[in-house]
Symmetry: C2
Subunit: 166 residues, 2 copies
Amino acid sequence: MSKLNSLEDLFLMEVRDIYNAEKQLTKALPKAAKKASSPDLKSAFEEHLRQTEGHMNRLEQVFGMLGENVKGRPCPAMKGILEEAEEILGEKAEASVKDAGIIGAAQKVEHYEIASYGTIIQWAEQMGRDDIKQLLGQTLEEEKQADQKLSELAKAHINVEATAGK
Amino acid sequence: MSKLNSLEDLFLMEVRDIYNAEKQLTKALPKAAKKASSPDLKSAFEEHLRQTEGHMNRLEQVFGMLGENVKGRPCPAMKGILEEAEEILGEKAEASVKDAGIIGAAQKVEHYEIASYGTIIQWAEQMGRDDIKQLLGQTLEEEKQADQKLSELAKAHINVEATAGK
């Protein structure tokens, strides 16, 4: 454990955390796409996998901009969130009910990332690193859009079908 | 493992999850208040502890409204998020840097809760349970306000001090 002397140290620690979290997510998204029944939901997860790979790429750029090695740091939070998601994926459930549950779990993932990027972007601003702020701002925007899209999918038909027990 | 036949089954499972998550949080908040250096941040955590107890009380009312026993369900997501927070609390760090890190960790907690309540409120609406929707809507509003307050505290002075290495 090295001492966190500055916001820069904390920033780097958090970037390593979210880098690991995104990596965990790239392994979980294909499973979610496979278990989802709704074709729209499957597509949403497949699209978000491509976005997630782009988010990792942006973080790799940030490591470069900081002159640091590309390296993750175990992220127990994402591990726990995905463990909960796996529970839902493994439940015996009506297809539409399971889809509703999968969306709920996925929105927890999105919110973890929204909180994390929101924090590091604020720190980047404080550090005077507008280049990093701008780069990660694009990721934050995509995470918010992904969360919004999941809400829309749920509202549009998945929850309605789950209520009807279809 | 019982089969999830309906949105009602899924709703109850998720209420049990967030009930356990809130309980875990009541144990973590006093530690965060103790380790925080900023008096404003300490107060924010103390106030949020009182709110969290209120949130548990509302969930207990929901169990009653559903004719179900008050019972939690292990929530690995909150466990992981709090494990990450404990890591920050245990780091050797400059006081203001640690405060910035604690705020970041606390905002992850808030976002988990915002995602969870957002989901179950939508399900309650779908189930035609406006009484539950309204009750938990108050909690969701408080979680959003708590998240906002943490952002303001960070912006107001904590991140600035962390940058200066105070």
